[in-house]
């Protein structure tokens, strides 16, 4: 379900000119898909409970669709950029994090996202230590760092100390992978 949501929401995100319409369409896709899936839940027959397992999801689905339509068709000329919470907010300096989201560039984010996916998939085969050290160093580079040696050193220190803390002190099992020996 979550995968569906992300996919359907991401599609209009590639195009420019996003606003209430785009959001409404995305929400409608999520809400419609969810509602359809909700109707597939079978109600147990002759249940003693007044409300079955289908009622609540159906209500959520209907509400999602309603909010989607409201967003898409309201008359206020919303640009999609959310206004700040209070009037005072406008006098605030732009914080380091973003009060008003700057335009996102999905292509810039793709390498980082793909590397993270690779890390997840290789975590068990390669083992925690190798995979994590390589991942931190590479991801830092993708996120804009230009100091290989420092990053690699930091990555090694972090992954070795985390591995030691978890498997030696806390007794949690982390994948050993290639370095596992057995």
């Amino acid at each position: 379900m979550a995968r569906q949501e992300a996919a359907s929401g991401a599609r209009p995100g590639r195009h420019a000119g996003l606003g209430d319409r785009g959001l409404g369409a995305g929400l409608l896709a999520i809400g419609g898909g969810y509602l359809a899936a909700a109707f597939l839940i079978s109600e147990p027959e002759g249940g003693y409970a007044a409300v079955g397992p289908r009622v609540f999801p159906v209500a959520i689905g209907i509400a999602l669709v309603a909010v989607a339509l409201w967003t898409a068709f309201r008359t206020r000329g919303g640009t999609g950029a959310p206004s700040s919470g209070t009037a005072e907010a406008q006098t605030a300096p732009a914080p380091a994090s973003d009060a008003v989201p700057p335009a996102a560039d999905w292509r810039a984010a793709a390498p980082s996202a793909l590397l993270f996916l690779a890390y997840i998939l290789l975590l068990e085969p390669l083992g925690y230590l190798l995979a994590t050290a390589a991942f931190i160093a590479l991801e830092a580079r993708l996120l804009g760092s230009r100091r290989w040696r420092r990053d690699l050193l930091a990555a090694l220190v972090v992954s070795v100390s985390v591995y030691a803390l978890f498997s030696l002190l806390l007794g949690l099992r982390l994948p050993a992978g290639l370095l596992g020996g057995s």
Binding site: L23, F56, I60, S83, A89, P95, P101
Partner: protein, 503 residues
Amino acid sequence: MGALGQLGDNLAVGFGAALAPVNLLLGIVGVTLGTAVGVLPGVGPALAISMLLPLTFGIDPVGAFILFGGLYYGAMYGGSTTSILVKMPGEASSVMTALDGFRMTCKGRGGAALATAAIGSFIAGTFATLMLMTMAPVLVEVALTFGPAEYFALMVFALTALAGLSQGSLARGLAAALIGLAIGTIGIDVQTGQARFTFGMAGLLGGVNVVVVTVGLFAVGEVFWYAATRARSAGSRSGEARGSVGGPVRLTRADWRRSWPAWIRGTVIGFFCGVLPGAGATVASFLAYDAERRASKTPGEFGDGAIEGVAGPEAANNASAGGSLVPLLALGIPGSGTTAVMLAAFQMYGLQPGPLLFTQDTTLVWGLIASLYVSNALLLILNLPLIRIWVQLLRVPTPLLFAAVLAFATLGVYTLNNNIFDVGVVYVLGLLACVMRRYGLPLAPTVLAVVLGPLLEQEFRRAMAIAGGDPTVFVTRPLSATLLLLAVLAASAPVLARRRPAG
């Protein structure tokens, strides 16, 4: 008299637990981590607590919550330091502090700004804990009369209030909450054993763990968002402006005289913003700043280094942390992202906060409350001399920090069930968070809805079962009807208030 004696007994038990060596150590770890979290932009208390959750399995609940409490208070505290010195708020709730705080630093009065923030935070945190201690048991008495219909209405109130007060439009807040409710319905229905929205994936049968949701939305989402927006906001985070403290970290007599009333006003505003679902620390600091400007005889000074502009908001955001624990502990209903994660933490220990926990598990509840006093004192002692060290944290390069955040997020979620599937869900939720932020959807209502969703449904079905399937039960019971009315008001009031100055 009897009630007072009871309070004394409870406090004695609480301080006994909070001052036990192990727990005291956990408290110190909590406030230290919390301050670091507060200093670092992009890493908030909700995220930090959810990443720590899997780590705390080995610790008993009392210790774990002392850790979380210290972290929460520490994060509120740490946000001020970098706002004042380098105009880089670590948290949204410290944005107002940066206005006058940084101006004070520019004028060589950074030391006084840091001191008024630190002392104000201490006073606010202490008073808020005091009010938490006295208010929560009263609320517990009320909560004992609650039936399923009232709990349902209360949760609807909490969700709509957070949705209405979040940044952006009401529709966006509601959409965010509904997405959270939808995620919350994934998994086996507890009452009937029916699988819902699992699409044949065994990993989804148990539902989407709240830790997975918070780590996915907050941690992974934050890093992806940084990757996507980095090119356009380049330079803003690199922190070229390294402020120096400038002068001793203490207050002159005049500073004290101007700070006192601001601390008190900030504390009161902050505490009540914290108690109300949805308002929280950020709104509290905005309101406190506004109140100071109105109360001041020289409002022109604001924005140019007025000490009240630092004292008020900093007191307010710390007091709101204490206030937000009132509904969590007394009713079991969180009103913010951070307290939602704390509720999830309680659930992982098999505990349900609320009236019963208050009477049955006195060591836990009062240990947590007592530890908040201890955390406050620790923060004052540890931080004033260490301010220069905290500022050094900003030297950690953001790319490296965020790469490590992804690695820690993976680690925390993986160790939850030793299951790579959960990490995959985190990944998908990280993408979802990115898309949501692109469209201006707030994330806090989603997290709260994931936590409250299953409870909401459960209480709804209970209430309906008791009423024999009659849906009017929610509006015919006076308390439930009042809460639902409040929910409608809470959702519409900010919208109406916003429309007025515009039109």
